[in-house]
């Protein structure tokens, strides 16, 4: 057993407590990484759900996520007839709040055409939409279960299926319903408001527009050429799936992403300072022992080994505790925490590097110790 391990064993309780403290800090770092990933993953969930190759939106807009976009619903037929298009579907998005039992749910309503692209990516319970009206498939995070009913707008909808990982960039769980129900929900007014509108003689809201048309292309078709063809219609814009994802990350979640990224950087810096201070303090407490080691003839590498090994054990233990804790509590966070194995490994590498760098202060203090201080007087 090395001197470092023997020293740790000698004051095990204090060392474990220090590791636990560092572990809590690592938990926060990993949580921030997870929230950052979750933010990106959630933002992309709605874009990835329809498994589209092309997004056809209103011309000169970056819709339907970064900007509002409105297209005539009939655009789907025109797009579907283009060479290279395998299938197309009209789609709408809106966020609503609804009461369910004692809770107020914030839901991301996705309207799509049955038997066309745009529906729930997977079903984990129940079935897909079987009727034209008043059925929905909900993300499991909404808290809705198969068989539940919920009032949305003027109508009561039955939950017939459950999906997962379908939400908007704000983390609101998605519900999928037929396009006609979603368009009605979009245009319908509260009965009292409807009476006021009728009394004023104002025109009824237009419910014949959709947010976008999504299309899947033939296997041998060139997506950029098909997009260019669509753009020849002056009232339409076309974005490939990659462009849509890039746009969403750049415009919708970029600020939040940078905010979390900055916070993560600050947390890592704080961790580095804390690790450096812990190692420095541990070394300062051992100066007399280090002087004795030097006096009896221990080479510098023995003393460096003592400090660096303890720093590495501290860092590795803190990382392991942090990882264990975050894996235990990650599902209790209000926002999705997504941790990839590479995140944990990269953090491990950073912590080890920080530990080695942080040992520098302690090593400097240790190398400056005069062996004569062991003798005193």
């Amino acid at each position: 057993m090395t001197l470092a391990l023997k020293d740790i064993r000698h004051s095990l309780f204090r060392f474990v407590l220090t590791c636990f403290g560092l572990g809590l800090l690592m938990t926060v770092v990993l949580a921030m990484i997870g929230i950052y990933n979750g933010l990106v993953s959630d933002a992309l969930a709605a874009v990835k759900a329809p498994r589209a190759d092309l997004w056809i939106v209103e011309a000169n807009t970056q819709g339907p996520f970064a900007e509002a976009s409105a297209l005539p619903a009939a655009t789907r037929d025109a797009v579907a007839r283009l060479p290279g298009i395998a299938e197309a579907g009209a789609i709408t998005y809106q966020t609503i709040e609804a009461r369910h039992g004692a809770q107020t749910l914030r839901l991301y309503v996705i309207g799509y055409e049955r038997s066309h692209p745009g529906g729930p990516p997977t079903l984990i319970d129940g079935r897909g939409l079987g009727r034209s009206h008043y059925e929905l498939v909900a993300d499991r995070k909404s808290g809705l279960a198969v068989g539940d009913t919920i009032r949305l707008g003027r109508n009561r909808f039955s939950v017939v299926g459950l999906t997962e990982n379908a939400m908007n960039s704000g983390g609101d769980p998605a519900v999928f319903m037929t396009l006609s129900d979603a368009m009605a929900l979009q245009g319908e007014l509260d009965p009292a408001a409807e009476r006021v509108r009728a009394a004023r003689g104002a025109a009824a809201p237009d419910t014949s527009t959709v947010a976008a048309v999504i299309a899947r292309i033939e296997p041998d078709a060139d997506v950029t050429r098909v997009a260019a063809t669509i753009r020849q219609w002056k009232h339409l814009g076309a974005l490939t799936q990659a462009q849509q994802e890039e746009l969403l990350l750049a415009s919708v979640v970029d600020r939040a992403r940078r905010q979390i990224g900055l916070f993560l950087g600050i947390l890592l810096s704080v961790s580095a300072v804390v690790i450096a201070l812990i190692i420095y303090t541990m070394t300062m407490e051992k100066l007399k022992q280090i002087a004795t080691l030097k006096l009896i003839g221990a080479p510098d590498r023995t003393i460096l080994g003592l400090i660096v090994q303890q720093a590495l054990i501290l860092g590795a233990s803190g990382w392991a505790i942090g990882l264990s804790l975050i894996l235990l509590v990650k599902d209790n966070f209000p926002r999705r925490v997504v941790l990839e194995p590479t995140n944990a490994l990269v953090l491990f590498g950073i912590i080890i590097l920080v530990c080695i760098l942080a040992s520098g202060l302690g090593i400097r203090a240790a190398l400056k110790v005069d062996p004569a201080t062991a003798l005193g007087g």
């Binding site: 022992q289 221990a298 003798l375 005193g376």
Partner: protein, 230 residues
């Protein structure tokens, strides 16, 4: 008793700190010779230069001038002639401290064997030698105990075992009996004398403990950095 080889030869050694008006002369042209088997006490008031001389002989403080020969090897002559002074200390010098300075996270046996591990002994050989020394010093039954659980006398005997582990021929002790009562202090000095003879080593001790003056072959008096009477 038989007096053997010249192990410590200090010739014209001086040490000063600072320059100009701030200059303090800790040692002024000191000459000391100690032979194998000798047990020598260094006496003097506080600030007389005792610890400085001990540190210079222990190769942990640079002399300002003079010559130092240890166990027949000239190690300082206006400058250090040995690059690796730690290795020199490991091979030739054993230190005994006032407060024993045992490493608190190692057992008594590990404290002793550490010196041998550093000197390149195999773990088995160093362990056997450590046990042999601890048994000889009658603390073998405390080999697996950490310093915090040893009595003052036991800890000092473990410290002596550590100082002797690599069979150094020069043993430097700084107030080795300061923490002990008079009976134990005399026992420790008798033990050191016996070991000095057996290992053909010399022992130079800084002490103020008058109770043990009769245990030394010679007393060296230092005053204001000068040798007053030998």
């Amino acid at each position: 008793m038989a007096i053997g080889d010249l192990l410590v030869e200090v010739s014209g050694v001086a040490k000063h700190y600072g320059e100009g008006e701030a200059r303090v002369d800790a040692l002024r042209a000191v000459d000391v010779q100690i032979r194998a088997g000798e047990v020598v006490a260094m006496l003097g008031p506080s600030g007389s230069g005792k610890t400085t001389l001990l540190n210079i002989i222990g190769c942990i403080v640079d002399p300002s001038a003079g010559r130092l020969v240890l166990d027949g090897e000239t190690v300082f002559d206006g400058r250090w002639l040995r690059g690796n002074l730690r290795r020199l200390r490991l091979d030739k010098i054993g230190f005994i401290f006032q407060a024993h300075n045992l490493l608190p996270f190692l057992t008594a046996e590990e404290n002793v064997s550490l010196v041998l591990d550093l000197a390149g002994w195999t773990p088995t050989a160093s362990k056997a030698r450590a046990r042999e020394l601890l048994d000889y010093l009658e603390v073998g039954h405390r080999a697996r105990v950490k310093p915090a659980h040893l009595s003052g006398g036991e800890a000092q005997r473990v410290a002596i075992a550590r100082a002797l582990a690599n069979r150094p021929r020069i043993i430097l002790a700084d107030e080795p009996t300061a923490a002990l009562d008079s009976v134990r202090a005399q026992l420790v000095m008798d033990l050191l004398r016996k070991l000095a003879v057996e290992q053909e080593a010399c022992i130079l001790t800084v002490t103020h403990d008058e109770k043990i003056f009769d245990r030394f072959d010679r007393l060296i008096h230092l005053r204001d950095g000068r040798l007053s009477t030998e």
